[in-house]
Symmetry: C2
Subunit: 413 residues, 2 copies
């Protein structure tokens, strides 16, 4: 698609690229940049490359994926191909992160790409890919370099969000929603991001001052107590990576988040939005936790994919993240369901199955064993799913049993 | 560009993908495939992925490059960016080749992409990239895995080959030329390739039987004696890679080739076609060799890029390959100048500056030191340039001084 044919204001795409490089990555002179993106996102890839070089980047390397090539495996692949993954590429990425390369992922996936494929094959590919990607993913979850996820309005994604509209209109509307949520529809997005970041840090500081032992979520279908990891720390907005660079890894972002205790989660919880995993939409998730582990799970569609996901490994049925997002926030107020975790997780309180973030501890230099001893979960996967809504009440519970209102009716108490 | 908009017969593109996978790579069940290509070549990338999966591929991974991102470095990059290269990606590729991954490069480059950029910056990027790519390139020049270069008709390339035509017509004509040269315009390309391969092997066997010590090239502006490496072997057509797979690394191919002696090349030689290097067209190259090394060089345009190229390292001004192609062959008979080495080198006898192929020795397991002792050249670069034409005479010279006619008036004697 040439720029002339893009059905949205490309000046805002320019601003999104600037925000990605200057706020999201906070790219430093001489840093190399690795961009992963679908081919369709090339108009943003090119703008980010230009913005990065203007900011003094070393070399910018895009790794572009193509949906047709992804589908070719399911259409034509023979049995042995579904347990393979390009480990060499992920090992290369891990080497890049070790050498101070900044990383941008452009999220523009077709939520339904794999919905008509055999869930068993989708799961096998997902698992093989997760295993191969682990050395690279661990460097991101350990926050070894500055990284960022940002979005681009692809046609297939726009069709899912605006099913009644013609492609051009749908892409235009999705673009506007992305631009608004990413705060690039304002005159000075950089200043807007600084003010937003300060507000998120106020919330983080308050939560860290409270030293809650657990959070108790209550809403229709949900009565869940999430114990927090020993020595956990709340994070949100900008944060310092281990390479010393303060970056904002999600554009947009509305969440503050921390590490739950992998063995201290009990009760029932109902998803308030569909979850898109591996090209499949999973609807109406309901699960019951017992001593940290999901012991019952159901979904009205995509249940097979959900169960495959939870069976990935020992840690996949336990929590690695809990995050708070008020109901009265820009993405939530848009009223849109994005079928994209980057957006939907920033519209509602959420929890994540799988790997925890080692940065979410007071001591950021804990070893793997120390993280596990403090209750931090370990897994090949990290999948956020949304549990907050307009009726969500949350209490913070201190070690002595004292309860402090945190959310009432979906917003900060 | 969607398939419907492609201005050529896509059934022939299907055949090209089949030839690439079945003849070029001779892909074995379970082998992974790495494809490098410009984004514009996606219609061929997708067909190759499908053909590879049908043939039992493990996972097919495209690494797509984009000209706008390449240009962004020259337009916006600051000084420090011109000595950087993504070593992590090349190291990953080297790992892939070590693990039996087959490799396809789709050649569709815009020959003029970098022609308006500062040659010094182009050279710095080229050198940094060559150094970073060396671990991967060495595995290809050592023929550790089955590999292939094949072409796709991009718009910018077609404009260069057919400057008077509208884009659609130019792409259509370039596509026809690629399909004809690649023998996919016939009913049974696989059988045509088998017959062609048998003819090339006849030439190879004859040359290896002669045990020439040198070749003497004579034509207008050229009087060049190319000593051959001790224990050299001629190759051409299909050949067995070190992973045991017999593949045909160039589609199309018309050449038979071997390793010259790096110190035994003397005389003057004039290029018979322009050479495209690093996005620059170098015209009318004329050089003089003394004891293997180029001691004088000139070009009517692109001379600065030529001199930078020859100064890359110790081996860049010496020869690493000599190849014989008759004037009466399909690509030559098309009368087209392709500005693309894969095609132009298969239309004329040529020599290559830089790295030799270690497979071009009777003993294919020589160490680096043994290759050097036998006269095999070593360099970061390998650049073919064309020296044959309709008036080319070549004599083979045996160790005892006996001369045997090899070419007369451009064709096999």
């Amino acid at each position: 698609m040439t720029d002339a044919a893009l059905p949205f204001d490309t000046a805002k795409l320019d601003k999104l690229a600037e925000v990605a490089v200057r706020v999201g990555l906070n790219l430093q002179k001489g840093q190399d940049v690795l961009i992963t993106a679908p081919v369709e996102a090339l108009p943003l890839v090119r703008r980010i490359a230009a913005a990065a070089y203007r900011a003094g980047a070393g070399v910018v390397t895009p790794i572009l994926n193509d949906e047709e090539v992804t589908l070719a495996r399911y259409k034509h692949g023979q049995d042995q191909s579904f347990d393979r993954a390009p480990a060499w590429l992920f090992n290369g990425m891990a080497e890049a992160y070790s050498n101070n390369t900044a990383r941008i992922a452009i999220s523009a996936d077709n939520p339904m790409l794999l919905s008509e494929q055999d869930p068993a094959k989708v799961s096998r590919v997902g698992k093989a890919t997760s295993i191969a990607a682990r050395p690279a993913l661990e460097k991101i979850t350990r926050f070894e370099t500055n990284w960022l996820v940002v979005s681009y309005p692809s046609v297939a994604w726009a069709r899912q969000v605006f099913p009644g509209l013609a492609d051009e209109a749908a892409v235009g509307k999705l673009a506007d929603a992305i631009f608004a949520a990413s705060r690039v529809d304002r005159d000075d997005p950089i200043a807007e991001w600084a003010a937003h970041d300060a507000r998120l840090h106020e919330r983080v500081d308050w939560l860290n001052g409270q030293r809650f032992a657990a959070l108790h979520f209550q809403s229709k279908g949900t009565d869940l107590t999430v114990g927090l990891a020993d020595g956990h720390a709340w994070k949100g907005g900008s944060s310092k990576a281990r390479n010393g660079i303060v970056c904002s890894p999600n554009v947009p972002t509305e969440e503050v988040f921390t590490t739950p205790h992998a063995d201290r989660v009990n009760g029932t919880v109902r998803a308030t939005k569909p979850l898109v995993v591996r090209g499949t939409v999973i609807r109406d998730i309901a699960v019951r936790f017992e001593k940290g582990r999901i012991v019952e799970s159901s979904a009205s569609s995509g249940e097979a994919v959900l169960k495959e996901l939870l069976a990935t490994d020992e840690g996949a049925a336990k929590l690695g993240e809990v995050a708070l997002v008020p109901n009265d926030s820009p993405i939530s107020n848009s009223g849109l369901l994005f079928f994209n975790t980057l957006f939907d997780e920033n519209a509602a309180c959420h929890i994540a199955q799988g790997q925890c973030y080692s940065e979410c501890f007071e001591n950021e230099d804990l070893s793997k064993d120390e993280i596990a001893a403090a209750g931090g979960n370990s897994s090949l996967i990290h999948e956020d799913w949304m549990i907050g809504g307009p009726d969500t009440d949350i209490d913070g519970i201190k070690a002595d049993g004292t309860r402090v209102p945190v959310f009432r009716a979906g917003n900060w108490a």
